[in-house]
Symmetry: C2
DNA sequence: CCGGATCCTGGCTGATACTG
DNA sequence: CAGTATCAGCCAGGATCCGG
């Protein structure tokens, strides 16, 4: 039970929890460049995502303090999402993640090439 | 449907998928310092985790190419896990993640302090 | 345009039991 | 010591419908 004490202490466990949302990373990435509206975000997503899901993800990130939701009282309504201070700090992670992701995609590509050339014909 | 084409192209989507495992980040973190045995890993985890779950997580990471499993034919058996090349490259992400995680924990702490001082007494 | 309420489903997780 | 097989439960994600 003593192990549970690490909750709220370990930065890695904390990070993991926040990144557990299926779209967290990508949303944080999209918001790097400035405020974006709800429907904009939905269109920018790499895969189709329902507004229900998007809404929930954004709400989570907002509750965790990473993003800020700003609502304009208009007809039609307009809502913009942007990064909070701590959200902006996440940029360094985004950058590292982007670079590594590209490296990994390269790695996978080479692995696949080997498969065609190599001994997978058993 | 055209959106689906981004699969296997976007580094962020790729990263997200790999980090989806509940313990991926922490495991990658633990292995930074060198090979570790199965039971060692289990003990080092911040929360209790069954060997079933740990086994599955490790297997996933191995299949994704991030870690290497080395088995020594002995009695009693000994298995060591270590980082692959692409796994080692993940270190920069780990570092960024660690720093941000600490920042975030600070941020949360301050937020909580405000709650006690501030207007939450209503 | 934005999003809540509800219901459903797949996948991950974890518990338990068994193997070399 | 280091797993695998199997089963059960939970919950994030998605579909659909409704509301401001």
């Amino acid at each position: 039970m003593a192990k549970k004490d690490l909750f709220g202490i370990c930065p890695y466990v904390t990070s993991q929890k926040i990144l557990s949302g299926k779209w967290s990373i990508y949303l944080l990435y999209l918001l790097q460049e400035g405020p974006v509206r709800f429907n904009e975000l939905q269109r920018m997503m790499p895969e189709d995502i329902t507004h229900t899901t998007l809404s929930r993800q954004l709400k989570n990130l907002e509750e965790e303090g990473l993003i800020i939701r700003r609502e304009y009282s208009q007809i039609p309504p307009k809502v913009e999402y942007s990064l909070s201070e701590i959200g902006k700090k996440f940029e360094s992670v985004i950058i590292a993640l982007g670079e590594w992701g590209n490296d990994y995609l390269e790695f996978v590509k080479h692995k696949d090439e080997k498969k065609y050339k190599g001994g997978e014909t058993a």
